[in-house]
Amino acid sequence: MHCRFSTLFCPEAKKLCVSSFFTVFACLFFLSEPCRANSPPTLYIYNPSYTKAHAMQKKIGAICPSLEVHVYGKAKDFKKHVLSSAPDATISLPDVIKPYTVYKTLLEGQREQSQLESYYLVSLGNALSVSELSKKKIGVIDLLGRKAMRAFIRSLLGDVAIKRVGKAEDLLPLLNFNGADALFISDSDLTDLKEVTRLKLKVTRTDIRLGLPVVSYLKQSDRDVISDCVSRFDPVVNSYLRVEKWRKAL
């Protein structure tokens, strides 16, 4: 028997933290602008979908050769990479981007002439309305991490318990195996779900409407190359991002 790994916040971890501070500081300070001057701008994308991230990365990378494109299948992977190496541009849901206040919105996704989409409660057995959700377990795609997601969903639905899944496709087993009393999902997620399952879903439309993906950027100088990339998105990419078209942010 042997101990392989310990994650306690031990003195070694503190030392590591201190040394990491200087390492990260040095990297950011000395290796920032000059070393990246010739590198293409980076674009990080996260949007919950049944389509696999690696497939979309290949496709979007081919459409936008002047950008270094990374597509993430889970919000936590997106967050981890944004924190470890901040991209020059992002495409994701407004609520995912919101904590990173340095980013400015360049383009807003639109569907049916709106930059918002409706959200639904989906259950088996009895249909549920928002007023009946107290203490119920609500399944959601994790966008923000445990605490932030709980606060976010409670701000929308009240006193509910949250069951998070990392991938859109995990919502169906969560509901079917009684892991949640209902799912709280977007119009696009509902369309995907209905395409896959023949369960007798009970669907309730809520009054809640949340933002479609937005394109955000850091530097003014990258605006054109990013806009040019997005303008060349085909229907497959736009469908993956659940939008019909893009418009300049107001």
């Binding site: 042997h2 300070f29 979309m56 990392g166 991938k167 369960l199």
Partner: protein, 320 residues
């Protein structure tokens, strides 16, 4: 990158990685191996900053006393047990020392957890076997064929598992058509092959091969399954990646656990326990939620099976 931007991200990084003191701890006891490490990684990502954990690797020589020693040493709020050997040590420890109170435990990444831990106290877990319905719904969504009747060969001893799968499949409009054989017949390549032929005669749209190691011995694969597959031209869904190898000509679709996702699901159970003041309510075992899908297009095309190209974007790996 401007200096102000660099400083901003530095601060963001520091805030997100700030240590938290006086937090509860979890003990993970597991075997070595890549899949187990992926599960730990999934747990670690979720627990970060809220709970600490000790990751202890047991080997084949580890004993019940070793398990008790690490529990005593770390005094965890809860234990995560991985691997069948660790589950048996835990069960043995409970049986040997019924008077001691062990922390609530979560069993994952072991075969037939519900059977192994039947009668054990203060334990919950996540089953490792992917339910047929998860795999078959995936198959239905990517194939151009209608999937209504799916055959499965099983050993009589596994009837409970088959019945549970049958119920889930029914809710999705899929009929599980089963042929059972006895344990002794499962040792015979001839009788296994006969049972497979009987199954193929039942007008099935696809075949689901459950992960029963007794039915997937090297001998049975080479002398029963593979010869049967040469004349079977329907989709075959398997539960392990290796059975989709082109040279085996068996699985057209493999659906198996996403170990990082299993780690995240385990962390969810840990947080449920924490929210419930470290008490297990209703000692039930959850089904696994997150899976990885591999499609072998070559095997499928040879059997005349077509896939919807756009749906192939929804699988993790396409073997051509």
């Amino acid at each position: 990158m401007s200096f102000s931007r660099a400083v901003f991200f530095l601060l963001l990084l520091l805030v997100s990685s700030s240590p938290v003191y006086a937090i509860d701890s979890i003990l993970i006891v597991r075997p070595s191996g890549h899949h187990f490490e992926q599960i730990v990684s999934g747990i670690s990502d979720e627990l970060a900053g809220e709970l600490r954990y000790e990751d202890i690797v047991f080997d084949a020589k580890s004993t019940k006393s070793d398990l008790y020693a690490v529990i005593e040493r770390y005094q965890p709020r809860a234990i995560v047990l991985m691997g069948n050997r660790q589950l048996k040590l835990f069960r043995g420890l409970q049986e040997d020392r019924p008077a001691i109170s062990l922390p609530p435990s979560i069993a994952v990444a072991a075969l037939f957890i519900d059977r192994v831990l039947a009668g054990s106290k203060n334990v919950t877990g996540i089953l490792y076997e992917i339910p047929a319905v998860t795999s078959l719904v995936s198959l239905r969504s990517i194939t151009a064929k209608n999937i209504k009747r799916v055959g499965v060969l099983y050993r009589h001893d596994m009837i409970d598992m088959i019945e549970e799968n049958r119920r889930y499949c029914e809710s999705e409009g899929i009929e599980l058509v089963s042929v059972g054989i006895s344990d002794s017949d499962a040792n015979s390549t001839r009788k296994t092959k006969q049972a497979l032929r009987k199954l193929a005669d039942k007008s099935i749209d696809a075949l689901w091969i459950s992960n029963d190691s007794r039915l997937l011995t090297r001998d049975l694969i080479t002398r029963s399954w593979m010869p049967f597959m040469t004349r079977f031209n329907k989709p075959v869904v398997v539960g392990v990646e290796t059975l989709t190898k082109t040279q085996l000509n068996m699985g057209s679709l493999a659906v198996f656990p996403d170990h990082t996702g299993l780690g995240a699901q385990t962390a969810g159970k840990i947080f449920d326990l924490m929210d419930n003041r470290w008490k297990i309510e209703g000692e039930t075992f959850e089904q696994p939620l997150s899976v990885i899908k591999h499609v072998n297009v070559k095997i499928s095309q040879d059997r005349g099976i077509r896939f919807k190209e756009s749906k192939l974007l929804q699988v993790d790996k396409v073997i051509r």
